[in-house]
């Protein structure tokens, strides 16, 4: 289990600035879909209860219908939980030293990558659509020095604010780094 106070390969002076997940719409959609897929067959069964009740009392069809109903509900329950896991394990951690991107792809694939703040060249935020504008969520893209490499923060809350924080962290990192180099050169421990 990850502990935000003890990140993998954490430097002594490194601390977590932001911990991000996709916005609440992602898990709300899972709950709504689950409720809908339970409510529709339940509603149909209640509406036609005079017939469904007779089927359920039948010594052969009754247990078979009951078993299929149970399998349907358990499958929905499991798939909802799998979707939630996919949502829950997609995380982005911004520290004062790097950006860590952990992405769960299905149940068996997992990608973890990290980007040093020194490599950040450009940060872009994007809010799309009426819902995104109203609830203030969207994407943030972090372009690195490598030509095709970029980090994507997908459907996160307050993308503009996140962009500003990343830019601020990058500036602070570069300033501190430059000061350290100047100090090292003044000490004579580093030369050009």
């Amino acid at each position: 289990m990850y502990d935000l106070k003890q990140l993998p390969n954490q430097k002594p002076d490194e601390h977590v600035v932001m911990f991000l997940r996709r916005q609440w719409f992602a898990w709300a959609a899972i709950i709504v879909a689950f409720a809908f897929m339970i409510a529709v067959p339940t509603g149909i069964a209640i509406f036609f209860w005079d017939r469904v009740g007779v089927w359920l009392q039948h010594p052969i069809f009754g247990p078979i219908i009951m078993m299929f109903a149970s399998m349907y509900v358990l499958c929905l329950w499991l798939f909802s939980f799998l979707e939630f896991t996919d949502y829950y394990l997609d995380t982005w951690v911004i520290t004062n030293d790097r950006i860590i991107n952990i992405e769960q792809k299905g149940l068996f694939n997992r990608v973890a990558s990290e980007l040093h703040l020194a490599a950040v060249q450009d940060v872009t935020s994007e809010v799309y659509g009426m819902v995104g504008t109203f609830f203030d969520f969207g994407d943030v893209y972090v372009q690195t020095a490598a030509e095709h490499e970029r980090f994507e923060f997908k459907s996160i809350d307050h993308p503009e604010k996140v962009k500003e924080i990343i830019n601020k962290m990058v500036e602070e990192y570069k300033e501190t780094h430059a000061k350290n180099i100047v100090a090292a050169m003044a000490d004579g421990t580093k030369t050009i």
Partner: protein, 97 residues
Amino acid sequence: MPFDITNLAIPMWTFLGAYGLFLAVFSLYSLFNLYHLVRFGTASTGLYAVTALFAGGTVLLVGATVFLLAPYDWSASISVSDLLRQTASTKQFFPGK
């Protein structure tokens, strides 16, 4: 004696076997999913709450199924000829018609 499919009788417990197989696959996926959450999730109250909710919900759903399936007679057999006769008669499935 020539083979006649209408003479076949399928014991009801074979359906329970199929259901048991489904539960085994369900348990495997559930455990693997729980392992993923516990192994790679970030330690938080939310994670513990969701894990407990899933485990509790699963126990409740399986328990309710056992409770609802228990009253049926699982030692009975389905005779194909009876089944064909019963499905041919729509009266018992569509009362009022």
